[in-house]
Symmetry: C2
Amino acid sequence: MALAIKVSEETFTPRQQAVLTAALDLLVENGDGLTMTAVARRASCSKETLYKWFGDRDGLLTATVQWQAAKVRMPYVDRSHLNTKALRASLEQFARDLLTTLIGEVSITLNRTAITHAAQEKDSLGNIVLENGPMAVRRRLKPILEAARDARLLRFSSSEEAYRTFFGLVVRDVQIRLLLGDNGLTQSNVESNIEADVKIATDQFLALYGAKANT
Amino acid sequence: MALAIKVSEETFTPRQQAVLTAALDLLVENGDGLTMTAVARRASCSKETLYKWFGDRDGLLTATVQWQAAKVRMPYVDRSHLNTKALRASLEQFARDLLTTLIGEVSITLNRTAITHAAQEKDSLGNIVLENGPMAVRRRLKPILEAARDARLLRFSSSEEAYRTFFGLVVRDVQIRLLLGDNGLTQSNVESNIEADVKIATDQFLALYGAKANT
DNA sequence: CTGGAACCGTACCGTACGGTACGCCTCTGC
DNA sequence: GCAGAGGCGTACCGTACGGTACGGTTCCAG
């Protein structure tokens, strides 16, 4: 029931991190067809060491995902002096970071791996990705939204609803299309439109929830 | 390059459809851990027959996904006499069908399977799912939106942007969370909120794109 | 009745891969 | 120098699964 996400940094040694890097590279290259032998060869270590350090294949996968996912960082926002302009800038920053992250190959690989795992009744990877992806965004964004509401810059009854609207306006169908391997949606293709999309999403969000809706 | 989605119904015989049903059931139960032996046993047929009919494991998977995905139907909407009320009803119907479909176990399974495949440089399944999911919605929704714009009910410069906004407002983070196996998001849990979410999404979309924005 | 096509069930083969065992090297503390 | 720990490389084992082969049964055409 409890997510049991590791809070301590789990402190991997540099050597272990090199192994995890190799695993991630192979994951990005070959998808979930990751073999222990391949990781051992790529990282120049023995399989025995892999099993000693990570227990089994799932442990290695979990460590890799966990270690990478934890690298995702949401922007810090100064909540002390919020005004219309600062709020807009913060929202745009959130949207930009969110989009930039989730169109990256690493994010796509991690999400695909976790989804593949979720298809086998194992939800641990999915929980890790969720916790470091959508939930991290939510944890960071909600206080901002609520602060902005207290400052009469935003108007909403449920901050949960407001967060989900923001998420939807920013992500749209981009992530699912990338996960499914949409040919017409190359990374560079999306990347070049990020700024425009960020602005559109922010404008729309402010139009819906901004206190001065009729400005 | 071309998607080469099969247009003809491919006309599977009833016996073949029974096999595909068995395959889908196993897919839903066991995830992508689908084995030819299991399908043969479940469908009471021989493996030789499976290979004869579908070529190989991928062929069976493709046939299953194709056959199921084609069953998804978007609502028909009467474009002839659009008014504010009819437009709202149409949008709500789209939102309801979209949400209902993609929280279903079949949809989740199909998407997971296609994503797992996309992680192995095979985009055929992904294309099938895309074509029968998001792209089908787009094909159906865009003409409505444009008709509504012609009738001065909606205001937008790009129908593509309007469609993507609608998609985002409706789907939000629901699909990705379900795909990742979010524990806090059971199907029934979401299902009970569909009507409320549909209304919210439609209201928001009309607030953004409705011609009478200040009503 | 007979030949053959379609298909079921099962046995079988080859391989890929997770996991283990072991020999050898290197580095460190005493 | 020496013992032991940590780790590399490789060989090995067991199994699961994709794919094939084959004997037996049913059904239909002529």
